[in-house]
């Protein structure tokens, strides 16, 4: 059984086809990358996986259960987490609260009306542990908006981990981060729990080839090929459509 699977997933906007019969499989504990040139349909694919966009046809399965028509929040509760390409945080709230809100949702405490939030020690301690694991322990009380961008990217990851996902979609985790800080993001990604199946969408090829064990190449809504980083790096077609362009 696969952690995440799509069967003949299609999406068209009028005459424009942005996903064309995508068959995709994510193994348990996978470190899988989705790459492709701009406009290849990567973001559309992620949005369909998360339920933000309804596919035109095809199926999506999470841990063997069909979730094609399941709502976004219920997919999250079933173990599908994500980070955003453009930081999507509670900017005026403290870093701790950003993570605690996710932890509280996951543990079903978010609708408690009476006992103060700050008295929920179990939520706060778990959030602090997650932040400490990502090297953000000293920033817990800072407002997110006051953090440097690289750290904001890590808060994105901390929030996703607060959901204890079985499958984690990382949408360009290093987007907008200065190159000397990419290393820090990567080292944190490498420390993520091995039982989480991770799909990463990323433009930074160094990061992709160091992090991923398998790579899928998407071009104009079609899966061009899938293989190990070595196979991808050797493939002539990939060079032509993608790497040639990127490394030019």
């Amino acid at each position: 059984m696969y952690s995440l699977e799509t069967k003949k997933l299609c999406k068209s906007f009028g005459a424009l086809t942005v996903a064309d019969n995508i068959d995709f499989r994510l193994e348990p504990g996978a470190r899988h990358a989705l790459i492709g040139p701009n406009g290849a349909g990567k973001t559309t694919f992620v949005n369909m996986l998360m339920g933000a966009l309804a596919p035109s046809s095809g199926q999506i399965l999470l841990g063997g259960d069909e979730i094609t028509h399941t709502g976004q929040s219920s997919r999250v509760r079933r173990g599908l987490g994500r980070t955003f390409q453009i930081t999507t945080l509670f900017r005026s709230l403290p870093v701790l609260d950003n993570v605690a809100l996710a932890v509280a949702e996951r543990s079903g405490l978010a609708t408690r009306l009476w006992r103060p939030a700050s008295a929920h020690k179990e939520v706060i301690e778990e959030s602090q542990d997650l932040l400490a694991g990502l090297g953000l322990a000293d920033d817990a009380q800072a407002r997110v908006a006051d953090l440097p961008y690289g750290k904001q990217r890590l808060v994105e990851i901390a929030i996703a981990l607060g959901l204890r996902p079985k499958v984690l979609l990382l949408d360009e985790p290093a987007a907008g981060v200065p190159s000397h800080e990419t290393e820090k993001i990567l080292s944190n990604l490498e420390k993520l729990p091995p039982d989480i199946a991770i799909l990463i969408i990323e433009h930074d090829m160094d990061l992709v080839f160091r992090f991923a064990h398998r790579i899928t190449v998407l071009v104009q809504g079609v899966v061009l090929m899938e293989g190990t980083p070595e196979e991808i790096a050797r493939d002539k077609r990939v060079h032509d459509v993608y790497l040639g362009e990127a490394h030019a």
Partner: protein, 320 residues
Amino acid sequence: MSGYSANPRIRWTEWLPWVAAGAFFFVLPEYLSLGARILIYILFALSLDLILGYAGIITLGHSAFFGLGAYTAGALGAHTAVTDPLVQLAAAATLSALLGAATGAVILRTRALTLLMLTLAITAILLEIANKWTSMTGGADGLSGVKVGELLGWFRFDLYGKTAFLYCLVALFVGWWVVRRIIYSPYGAMLTGIRENTARMHAIGAPVYWRLVMIYTISATMAGIAGALLTQVNQFVGLNVLGLEPSGDVLVMLILGGVGRLYGAFVGPVAYLIAQDYLAKQYPEYWYFGIGVLLIIVVLFARGGILGILDVFTRNKKAV
């Protein structure tokens, strides 16, 4: 400031409104009816702050619940033998909660301007019903002769408004306590999350729509109780509790005091109603002009409302 990093302990400044209300009772006994009105509008503004200030639901129709509560208490007191004030209050709370849940379930799927128009439409419909259903509501003449029995079978609503003032004060205190608990709870923190970034709340698995319907219902219940109090204190209810005007008034009060900060709902109605009381005596035809000027000054120079001005002096401390 609420949430997981906040200290929920009650600060000494938070007792000031209650000390002030107590002092008011003894020092200004001739103004007790104005005082009771202020307390009722504070409760109304507090209910609005819960959805507008914390959950970020923009509404011009909050008078729908205030008005329904007011007419529920009025109809019971005028047409039936149910004169026990607490029973009337409970009936008003129940009907307002039902209306809040029913309308919230429909309109909270929309947002921004659409939502604003729908909230306005609902209170406009209720206003028209109250206007036309004269046998029940008295129509444009209002419903007079609302009978309100003794409170707990013991305290009569006296001519000087002492019982009414204390009754409203206790109701407001309970309302404040409940709202404060909610704001500092995980649920309150979650509401702030919805206001701050709805997309992120979806992505952490929160069923945002249901959460909004829930808080909308709680808020509607409180507004209905405030409306019922107004009827009981005046022993009269008229059409001015429904429609755009009372919705706009309470919104202006909240903006004057400061949105999303709990005590803005206390300061705003005090400033508004005292200004209104004074201006209406001095310039009976133009008192709204004075309120308008006050609002413009606050919006231009004090975006956080009157309490926002106080922040400037306590810059280094946390917001009250």
